[in-house]
C-alpha cells in the first residue's frame, strides 16, 4: 500500500524545465528496479524538501532524485535505465553505423 506521498511528477516540471531544454515530465523513464516504463509526470513524488524523490508507481523504487541548492541542482538518475524523450520530427539523428 502506497502511503504518504503528496505529489506526482507533474510537480517536478518547474525545476526540470529550468535545467533542460525539453519538458522532461513528458519523458518516459524506465525503472531500474522493475523495468516498468512510466512518464516522469506519473512518478510518485515525495518532497519538496530536502529534495524531490520520484518513485516508480509499480515497485516504489527511487527513479529520480532532484536536489535544488542556491545556484545549482543535482539530478540523480541512477534509478532509471533510460529516459525516452520525444523530439520534433525534423531532428532525425543517425543511428549506429
Amino acid at each position: 500500500m502506497t502511503t504518504g506521498f503528496e505529489l506526482d511528477g507533474n510537480a517536478m516540471a518547474g525545476d526540470l524545465r529550468e535545467i533542460f531544454a525539453v519538458d522532461l515530465t513528458e519523458a518516459v523513464a524506465t525503472c531500474a528496479g522493475c523495468g516498468r516504463p512510466s512518464a516522469v509526470a506519473a512518478l510518485l513524488v515525495w518532497g519538496p524538501a530536502p529534495g524531490l524523490v520520484a518513485r516508480c508507481p509499480g515497485c516504489e523504487d527511487v527513479v529520480l532524485r532532484l536536489v535544488r541548492a542556491p545556484g545549482r541542482a543535482w539530478l540523480d538518475v541512477r534509478g532509471a535505465v533510460s529516459l525516452r524523450i520525444a523530439l520534433p520530427e525534423e531532428s532525425v539523428a543517425e543511428g549506429p553505423a
Partner: protein
C-alpha cells in the same frame, strides 16, 4: 495580481497580469515562490485555471489548506496590486492539446482547476470534441465555478457536467451522497470503445481509486493521464 474573487468561502481566484507571458496550454502549471522579509522562502506549484487568450491574464484558483503556509497567504493576505514571483508555464504531460477524441474529465475537489482550463479552452475555440466532466465535491457550497459550469452546459455544445456529492447533496438531488464508484464512471463517463482521452485530477487517494476503476471498466491505461496533489499546499 490585478484582482481576486472568491469562488467558495475557502477558494480564491487570483487574476495575474504577467508581463511577457508566452501563453499556456490548458493543464499547465505555474510555480509561485513567496519570500519573507527575512529571506525565508517557500515555493508551490499551482494549476492554471484560465485558458489563454492573447494579451490576456492568467488565473489561479487557490484552495485554502489548513496549515498551508503558501495557500493561506494567497487566499487571505495577498492584495490586488501586489507582485508575485512566478515561474512558468511548466508541465507538458497533463495537458489537453485539442485532439479530436472525446474527453472524460474526472475531478476531485480543487482538482477541477486544470480541467476547467481545458473546458474554457474548448469553449473559446468553439471546439466540438465531446466533453464530459465528472466532478466529485463535498457539498454544493464547495463547488468551484458552479455558475460558469451551468452556463457552459447550456451554451457550449457537447459539454456535459455531472456533479457527485460526497457528503451533502442539494435538497432536490436524486442520488444519495457518496464517493465516485463504478456506477458513476460507467453512467456518466464514455464507454471504453469511444477511446476517450481521460484526465483525472484530485487528491492522491481519489486519483488512485478513479484510475483503477477506469482501467477495470476497460479504458486503455495509456489514455488516462493523472495529476495528484497532497494536502499541504
Amino acid at each position: 495580481m490585478t484582482e481576486a474573487r472568491w469562488e467558495t468561502p475557502s477558494a480564491r481566484t487570483l487574476v495575474l497580469d504577467v508581463p511577457q507571458w508566452p501563453g499556456h496550454l490548458p493543464g499547465q502549471h505555474i510555480d509561485v515562490r513567496l519570500t519573507a522579509p527575512d529571506g525565508y522562502s517557500a515555493q508551490r506549484s499551482y494549476s492554471i485555471a484560465s485558458a489563454w487568450r492573447d494579451g490576456g491574464t492568467v488565473e489561479l484558483t487557490i484552495q485554502r489548506v489548513a496549515d498551508g503556509e503558501v495557500s493561506s497567504y494567497l487566499t487571505d493576505v495577498l492584495e490586488p496590486g501586489q507582485q508575485l514571483e512566478l515561474r512558468g508555464p511548466v508541465g507538458g504531460w497533463f495537458v489537453w492539446r485539442g485532439a479530436p477524441a472525446p474527453v472524460l474529465l474526472v475531478a476531485g475537489g480543487s482538482g477541477v482547476v486544470p480541467l476547467m482550463a481545458m473546458i474554457r479552452a474548448r469553449g473559446d475555440a468553439r471546439g466540438r470534441q465531446p466533453f464530459r466532466l465528472i466532478y466529485s465535491v463535498r457539498a454544493p457550497q464547495d463547488t468551484l465555478y458552479a455558475t460558469e459550469l451551468a452556463r457552459r452546459v447550456r451554451d457550449d455544445p457537447g459539454l456535459d457536467v455531472h456533479l457527485a456529492y460526497t457528503r451533502k447533496t442539494p435538497d432536490d438531488w436524486l442520488e444519495p451522497p457518496g464517493r465516485i464508484g463504478v456506477a458513476t464512471l460507467n453512467t456518466h463517463g464514455w464507454p471504453p470503445d469511444f477511446a476517450p482521452d481521460v484526465f483525472v485530477c484530485g487528491p492522491t487517494s481519489f486519483v488512485e481509486a478513479t484510475a483503477d476503476i477506469l482501467v477495470a471498466l476497460g479504458h486503455d491505461a495509456s489514455r488516462i493521464r493523472t495529476e495528484r496533489f497532497g494536502g499541504t499546499a
